[in-house]
Amino acid sequence: MRRVTGWIVLIVLVAFLVWGVTLIHPFGYPDASDMDDYIIENSQEETGSNNVVAAVLFDYRALDTLGEATILFTAVMGVLLLLRASKRKKETS
């Protein structure tokens, strides 16, 4: 029963995905590119950075990068939290 449901879900999902991706613009010829054109044209002037990706990361979409750094911080904190000793050393010694 569970396997059958699993296969149905999988087939429906994959069918939709493959159908979906065939409807996207042809690879290499995007439909609309207003935002990206603006960024490529103006990033040198507005941010002074030659690397447009760095300009996007740290200027145009800087909050995403802050979030990304935060996620890394969260994961580090989480890993250290989960691998901690559950008893304090000071009390035992």
Partner: protein, 118 residues
């Protein structure tokens, strides 16, 4: 200019990766395999995102000593970079939890280690 290839290979490859990873996630019982499935799902989504921004014959969007010509779109690259780092973080945390589960139950089988029923 390159000739246009009618099949959108990168998009199809991304869809295929996502499909395979869903197969793994739905049917595999081993927790490590489950994590590998999620890593593949992330890889598929990242491939999809980064191939959205490609322009035929484009160069990398970095002005330092670049040849003349179109540049590929820069926002999908930034999104993909963000998404890769996020997935590294998620994988690290998942592996930690699996190590802890293994210490407690001595098993990586999701059926065996499931103590809670309901």
């Amino acid at each position: 200019m390159m000739e246009y290839i009618p099949l959108d290979f990168p998009f199809l490859a991304a869809a295929l990766l996502v499909g395979i990873s869903f197969y793994i996630i739905i049917f595999k019982k081993n927790l490590i395999k489950l994590i590998m499935g999620i890593a593949m799902l992330a890889a598929g989504v990242n491939l999809f995102l980064v191939s959205l921004g490609y322009r035929a014959g484009g160069t990398a969007p970095i002005y330092t000593d670049v040849p003349e010509g179109p540049m590929v779109m820069s926002v999908p690259q930034a999104l993909t970079l963000t998404s890769i780092v996020i997935n590294v973080a998620v994988l690290a945390l998942m592996l930690t939890m699996v190590i802890r589960i293994y210490r407690h139950t001595g098993s990586l089988d999701s059926e065996k280690s499931r103590r809670l029923k309901g």
